[in-house]
Every structure is written in structure tokens, then in C-alpha cells.
């Protein structure tokens, strides 16, 4: 399988990691903010598509700009819905770990060879319902250049 590096997406992602953490602190966002309110936490998983033969095609080619991501991050913060967020370094820097029945550790370099997509980052938002979560997902820059998967967080 041909794996080529997809533009600037991961680079921008890594650049924004510190930005995201910083803005969370700046805006006073915390996990306990919404306790007692009827709302659900959703994780928005920002998925990028790996390039090559037979790979899915993103809605738009290219990569989101740092400005787009920062503006989005700021909107989430100002709306008071952001619980946490993180952006990941390039999937090419990934390391895989598996443990077999004998308890032996198997460590391999790189992304999982079979996967067609990679996780570029995530946002955890606290909103009243799925429609609100979908609205936020649709505004995420990642939705234009890949897809955004919306998953409710399980509560235990």
C-alpha cells in the first residue's frame, strides 16, 4: 500500500497542540463545568484520509489552515461548550504496541498498515443533544478535508 504524506494537516495539527491546551486554560474550560445540567459529552474525532490507490477522497483537497483551526477552537471556547481538545503529531510518528497471549510485547513502527484513515485530533464538547454536536462537527475545519466522527462519551 502506498502511503504518502498528506500535505500540511499533521504539521498544523502538531502546531496546534499547544495552542489548544493554552486556549483551554485561558478560557477556564473544565470537565466539571456542566455538572447537573442535562447535556451529553461528545468526542469529535477529526479523521484525515491517507493518500494513495483506493483511498477515500476528502470533500476538499488540501489541508485546513492553522487560522481555520484556531478560529474554530476559539468559537468552541466562546460558546462555552469545549471540555477538552488535542491535536496529534503526524501519524507517521505513531508506534504500535500489542501484547500476545504469552505476555510478550510487540512494538512496531509507524501507523497501522491496513488503516485508510488516521486520527488527526479531537475535541470533546458538552452540548444538549446530537443535533447540536452535529452542528459543531459541521463547522470543524477537519470536516472539509477529511471527516469528523461524532461519538457520545459513555458515562459510568
Amino acid at each position: 500500500m502506498l502511503i504518502t504524506f498528506n500535505g500540511g494537516f499533521p504539521v498544523i495539527c502538531s502546531f496546534l497542540v499547544s495552542m489548544a491546551r493554552f486556549s483551554n486554560r485561558l478560557l477556564g474550560v473544565s470537565d466539571h463545568r456542566t455538572k447537573g445540567r442535562a447535556s451529553v459529552k461528545y468526542m469529535l474525532l477529526i479523521m484525515g484520509f491517507r493518500e494513495g490507490e483506493g483511498m477515500p477522497k476528502p470533500p476538499s483537497s488540501g489541508a485546513p489552515s492553522a487560522e481555520e483551526f484556531m478560529a474554530y477552537q476559539q468559537e468552541l471556547g466562546q460558546a462555552g461548550v469545549l471540555v477538552d481538545s488535542g491535536l496529534l503529531h503526524s501519524f507517521e510518528d505513531a508506534t504500535q504496541v500489542q501484547v500476545n497471549d504469552a505476555g510478550e510485547r510487540l512494538v512496531t513502527n509507524g501507523p497501522f498498515a491496513e488503516s485508510r484513515e488516521y486520527l488527526g485530533g479531537y475535541q470533546i464538547i458538552d452540548v444538549p443533544d446530537l443535533d447540536a454536536a452535529l452542528d459543531w462537527a459541521a463547522r470543524c475545519p477537519g470536516a472539509k478535508y477529511g471527516r469528523v466522527e461524532v461519538r457520545p462519551l459513555a458515562e459510568f
Binding site: P128, D129, L130, D131, L134, V150, P152
Partner: protein, 415 residues
Amino acid sequence: MGPAGEPIEAVFREERGRLLALLAARFGDLDLAEEVTAEALLAAVETWPRSGVPREPLAWLATTARRKAIDRIRRDATLATKLATLHADADPARRAEPVPEHEHIPDDRLQLMFACCHPALDLDTQTGLTLRYLAGLSTAEIAQAFLVPPATMAQRLTRGKRKIQQSRIPFRVPGPDELEGRLGLVLHVVYLIFTEGYAATGHHDLVRCDLVDEAIRLARILHRLMPGEPRVTGLLALMLLTDARRPARVDGHGIAVSLEDQDRGLWDTSMIDEGARLTTHALRHHPPNSWSVQAAIAAVHDEAPSAQETDWRQVRLLYDELFALTPTPVVALNRAIAISWHEGPQAGLDHLEALAGEPGLTRQHHWHAARGHTLARLGRHTAAAKAYRRASELAQTPAEIAYLSSRAEKNTTPG
């Protein structure tokens, strides 16, 4: 509603759907809503014969079901977190209040319909949930109607319910900016239920015929709750005008009868009248929508005393309009048939041949049947027989296969 002495069962069908919708919207949990609805109805069966049917049966049932839901939530620790959404009802003082006699009970079925037809659910699940919770069909009935094993349908409904609850799909009518698309999904599901039942009329299968009635019933609910929405009016009109022909669609031997050969005396005139009236209402809105235009086409057919006396020019113009709104191969096929009657069989055939490259059409019997019919009218019987034979191979229902085979036969016989 429900004067004393009326059988309790008569009240329940309509009330059950409304109760379920009310409770689902309130608690966001279809399982809970279903359970307490059943309990409230049971309580009514036990109480009403002794105490008489209450003046406001629905208010009585709603209050009873709500109390049962709150009791259940209090008993069940895993449901306790939901109390957050129930501030008012959880108040013990309020719970002790007597059942209000004239409480206004909102009709939340529209909200429930939008939740069941949410785009986060797949189409099969949307259809299943709508039939289960809005039409009130049992899981076994739905499974039978869609020809899947009951276990498969049960699993589909369970997954759908779980997704609604865990993803918190809202029980809400979408706002104006979203309504256009979301209503489209609801109407699509209702029409799918209709066509699923309608296509199977030849099976003489009562359950599947029920799907037609259920779809019309669902459209009536939608129409009552959204009286000014022309797409809903158009869909209801279309289904009434189509179903009005049901008694004439299949002959005594179970063979399908084409529109031009149907005994129009068997058509249901009251359904045609109602459908035509609704079509007029729907078409007052501009621009027209595809449901209203389809209803208008059905109305032109239904009001014609015979196939020959049909206003084919009107039908053709309406198909032009429909094709402009929804340029699909199926609409193009129907437009070609209309042209064959308006301009003549050769013009119709030319339009049909132009669609020969549409695999979606050539894999189904309708295109081949239309070609066979047009070729027969042109006197090209050998080619017609061949087209009819291909159509009969592709047809699904026994009634249609019988009809198309007989047409193939007729065109093979010399003279």
C-alpha cells in the same frame, strides 16, 4: 372523545401513539416510554370499567404514565441520572396533585417522527422505528412486512432505540434552516412504507396491504400537525389518489391490470375527491414541490373517464415540470410514456430508447414493459414480445409476471 360506554379498545390506538410520543419527548427514552405507556393502558383497562371512562382519557393516561415513569426512575439507579431533566415532575408535591380534568395534552408525534427518521439512523432503521412507534405495529408484523426474520427486525429496532438514547437524538421538530431536508427524510420514509405495501398488493398478503393503510395514516397525522406544509399535503394526496385504484389493480385471477385497462368504476371516488381537493391546496404554494406535481398527475388520471379521454397534454406538461424538479431516470421513463400518448408511440419510443444506457432502468421491468407496449402500438409485435419477455423475467410479483407473460404471448401469436 370517548363517552362513557365506548369500548376502551377503541380509544387506544390513537392514544397509544400520542402517549408514547409525549413520554419519549419528555424522557428521551423509547424503552421507558413504551413500558409505562403499556402500564398506563393496563391501568385504564382495570379502572375504567368500574369508574367509567374519564372525560379526558388522554390526560388521565398521560398523568398515569408520567407518574409510573417517575416511580420507575426513582427505583432504578441507572435511570436516576435522568432526573435532571425532570425537575417539575420529580417534585413530590406536584405528584400528589389530582389528575387535571382539562389538561392540554400536546401532540408530540411530530417530534417522535423526526427522531425516528433522523439522518444518524439508517433508512431501514428509520422505517422500522416509524412503523413500530408511530404506526404501532408489532416487531413481528414489521418483520413480516419487510420479509426479514423477526430476530433481525428486533435487533434493528433495539440498535435504533439504543442509538437514539445514547447519542441523544433529540425529539424535536428541526428549526427552519434544517426543516427542508429533515422533512424530506420523514416523507421519504412514509412513502417507502406506502410503495412497499403497494407493490405487493398482488400477493394478496393482508399484512403488506396494511402498510399502504399505515402510510396513509402516518401522512394524515403529519397533515394534521403541519396543515400548511405543501409537501405533506402533496404526499397525502398522491397516496390517496394512487390507492384509490387498488380495487382495480389486480383481476380475479391475481393478474395485474394496466392503468389503461382498469375498470374505472371500481376506483374509490371518495378517495379521489379527497385527493384532488388536497392536490389543489398543495399546488397553491409556489414553487410547486415534487409530491404535489406527482399528486396532480395521479389526479389527472383518476378524473379521466378512460385512458383515451385522459388529458395527456396535461400529464406530459406535469411530467416536464416533475423532471425539472427531480431529474431522475424513473421520472424520465414516466415522461417518455406520457409523450407516447401525447405525441404518439414513435416519439415515445425515441424517448425510451434514449434511456437505454440507464442501468438503474434496464435492470428493472418497467422500462422493458413500456418499450414492449410502445412497440406493440407501432405494430412491431416480434420486438414487443421480446421486450415483454425480458420484462417478465425481471418482474418481482406474481401478478406482474403473469401480466407481462400474457402480453409477450399475445404479441407472439400471429395476427
